[in-house]
Amino acid sequence: MARATTNRTRPSTISVLTLGASVITAVWAAAMMTPGGRVAYVYVFAYAEYYVGVVTLVALSLTIMIGLIATDRLVLSVRQRVLAQSAHRTAAVVAVAALALHVGTKLAEGHARPLDAVVPFLAPGPDRGYLGLGTVAGLLLVLMMWTGVVRARFAGRGRPWVWRSIHVLAYPMWPLALVHGLSAGRPAPPWVVACYLLCVLGVLSGLAVRLSVPVARPVGTAAEARPPVPVPARVARPAPVARPAPVAPPAPVARPAPVARPAPVAPPAPAPRAPADARPARIVGRHAVDPGYLPPDETPTLVDLAGRRARNEERRRAGTHTTVPPGRRTRRRADDATAELEYWRRIRREAR
């Protein structure tokens, strides 16, 4: 993020409005009053009348795709998610603008009556149904736009679930728009169908990401649960890997490996680990937090947390620390959960 530039003052609203109005006037004048401008206007209008519907649908699909992907917490970093959110909003604005152009040109050409832009399923002719779908989708899109604009208000006075349930109407809107695009008006040429198919694929994969979000939530506790170096997870999950013998005397392994199990494969050489006190920055979600920000909580508890931490640390150094697979909801209790797991495992082993 660029640093704050405080030297410039924000232009006033009036000056911005004046500038916008004069630009629009200038463009209008150029289009209407110069011969070249008139020719360009005709071309632009023809293009808009012919293609902006496709642009609308592609922008809409992009909006939905990016919106779905922006919820991901596993792959995307925080920064990328912020970027995805702004891309989502930008694509939505493009879609709404293209929709306005699409409706405007269609009305100007007389393909539909002004009433049909507002009330669905009233248009005369064979395309009545497909045209109506477009109207419904357009109205929903405007509604989506409104929910996007007033979103913050739902966080304050309103209820978030209300917002979510309105915004989720985007899901039914999109197929309506797709059917409208494929079937209303002229028959769609193959490349448009291909475009739409790509959009369908993209949205479906986005949907998959979105549905995986509540399931696959990253373990959010501190470094104990999720070391920053990507460990080969679930390598040694059930098998009690024999402790890799230290360099010094080839001490007999304390416990003979159970016969029934396959012989323990010699684990790969452990990655060079930083010394314990030079702790790397903790990974929380996906951001590094300065470990010196908060000293460890030393409040006395009923549970011997310090001892547990020490044991975990020792185990991790020995390479037998089991990492909890990230698919489980072990958000705040990962530390305890691993300890529990290990404890019961040991008891079972000893009972055997």
Binding site: V82, R151, W163, G220, G285, R286, H287, L294
Partner: protein, 500 residues
């Protein structure tokens, strides 16, 4: 994505109704406050009747007078006035340009009222001093810089309207911010630029308003000059300590039952002034404002009110704010609120200050909440010190560190988890209050899921704690931080943030 923080925010938080200026009390013979008890506000007539006419001085006489009474800047820095005037004269001679006289009456400190008391009740003293300097230095114009908090603007305008100044004089209003009073910031504000401290230090005496050599003085300083020229150096030195003659103007607030602007001869016992205002000292006294230092109650009991006396007690005299904390409030909680406020007052142009002061505020808040270590505060303070265009980071770090030193026992009680058991009453005043339209960032903890997007878009307001959840300031936000806060509200995927 660059967070553009406009100096004039979209929705400025103005006091709906300006705070009343506290009453004026006097110890000994009144000088700056002479006639206020009789007339209330001195208009030109009353001013002439009380103070008499104004003689004109040459530059040499002015400097000799300022030297004889050892007049120092009363805005906090305490720079000798004579030295400043000499530097301006030198600069004028070098550049063969006339100087500009700037009176700094912005008084950005929320706890300070002395300049505002002068502005509202004795504006002609300020104008007298400015006129005196303008005639002596043959200035091109006089500029009086005031804050836009609605206090004193009408009074100074009325005073200017009813008298003739030797050179053109104008009043310039700058936004009421903590850093607006910094000399470089004021000069930039007068020149029509953003009223924030410049990145490269330029002495106002070399290049100030309109690029001319500028004599920039605090309002009380020029008012003292107007007193001294009438009394003469010997009579002036009749009050106060031999080393620091004259009177000082204080603002006594904090736990004082009757907050007041007090004029007293320098060297008056601090305890006497506190008793006069009905202030119970409590564990410590803040002297010199929010960039000042705390002094212990036992040191305060024997301290006298002079730069030297306060320095011996371990404080800095600064702009003469005396804020006893009182026994009824939690000192660390108060300090945490003020550090949070100061962090929000960062102009945002120097990175170590923009992000370092919020970190410092969080570490102090953690100490007050019982979870933090004092060493973390030290580390955070060390990160910011000396790394800004102005003294704001240094002053804030000094304030926080001296508080932890003076309230060590409280800090230990908080660190052990028990706390001091006292509520935070808001004894130390802050300008942004929710009842005046300032808004607070609130987290709905049941919704927050630690996504962390908020801290990515508004790092100067929100940081994540080690568990990945946002730590937001508890105090109301200044208006210039509201845009960032709104961005954070907008990106929150869980709709857990709101501005209320």
């Amino acid at each position: 994505m660059s967070p553009r923080r406009a100096p004039a925010a979209a929705r400025p938080v103005r006091p709906v109704e300006a705070d009343p200026v506290p009453p004026v009390l006097t110890v000994g013979v009144p000088r700056l406050t002479a006639g206020l008890d009789e007339y209330g506000r001195l208009d030109l007539d009353a001013h002439r009747r009380v103070h008499g006419g104004l003689p004109a001085l040459t530059a040499g006489e002015l400097i000799a007078l300022a030297e004889a009474i050892d007049l120092r800047g009363r805005g906090g820095a305490g720079f000798p006035f004579a030295g400043k005037a000499r530097a301006v004269l030198d600069s004028c001679r070098r550049n063969s340009a006339p100087p500009v006289i700037v009176v700094n009456a912005t008084e950005g400190e929320p706890a300070s009222w002395k300049d505002k008391a002068l502005l509202t009740r004795a504006p002609h003293l300020i104008l007298d001093g400015a006129a005196l300097a303008a005639v002596a230095l043959r200035a091109k114009e006089i500029v009086v810089g005031i804050a836009d908090d609605g206090v004193g603007a009408r009074s100074i305008a009325a005073a200017l309207a009813e008298r003739r100044m030797p050179v053109p004089a104008r009043v310039v209003t700058v936004p009421h911010r903590f850093i607006s009073g910094e000399s470089g910031a004021l000069v930039r504000g007068i020149n029509g630029e953003a009223h924030i401290p410049p990145g490269r230090k330029v002495r106002a005496s070399d290049r100030g308003v309109l690029g001319l050599p500028t004599l920039l003085s605090n309002a009380e300083t020029v008012a003292q000059l107007a007193i001294a020229v009438r009394l003469g150096p010997w009579e002036y030195a009749a009050a106060g300590l031999p080393g620091e003659p004259g009177t000082v103007l204080l603002t006594v607030g904090g736990s004082a039952v009757t907050p007041a602007v007090v004029e007293c001869p320098s060297g008056t016992p601090l305890a006497g002034v506190l008793a006069m205002c009905g202030a119970d000292t409590g564990p410590g006294i803040l002297v010199g404002g929010y960039h000042g230092k705390w002094i212990r109650a036992d040191a305060a009991a024997t301290a006298n009110l002079s730069r030297r006396g306060i320095a011996e007690a371990g404080g800095t005299f600064g702009a003469g704010m005396i804020l006893p904390i009182g026994p009824a409030t939690c000192p660390l909680g108060e300090v945490a609120r003020v550090v949070e406020y100061l962090a929000g007052e960062s102009a945002g142009q120097c990175g170590p200050c923009r992000l370092g002061l919020p970190a410092l505020a969080r570490s102090v808040t953690l100490v007050a909440a019982g979870g933090g270590a004092i060493d973390a505060v030290r580390a955070a303070a060390a990160t910011v010190r000396g790394r800004g265009a102005c003294g704001h980071p240094d002053g804030t770090a000094r304030f926080a560190l001296s508080a932890l030193e003076v309230f060590q026992r409280d800090a230990e009680a908080h660190a052990s988890g028990e706390g001091c058991g006292k509520p935070v009453r808001g004894i130390l005043p802050l300008p942004f209050r929710t009842d005046r339209g300032a808004r607070t960032l609130v987290v709905d903890w049941t919704r927050c899921d630690g996504h962390g997007l908020c801290s990515a878009v508004a790092p100067e307001i929100i940081r994540l704690d080690p568990n990945g959840f946002p730590a937001v300031p508890q105090t109301p936000l200044p208006p210039w931080l509201e845009n960032g806060a709104r961005r954070a509200v907008n990106v929150c995927p869980a709709l857990a943030l709101r501005l209320s």
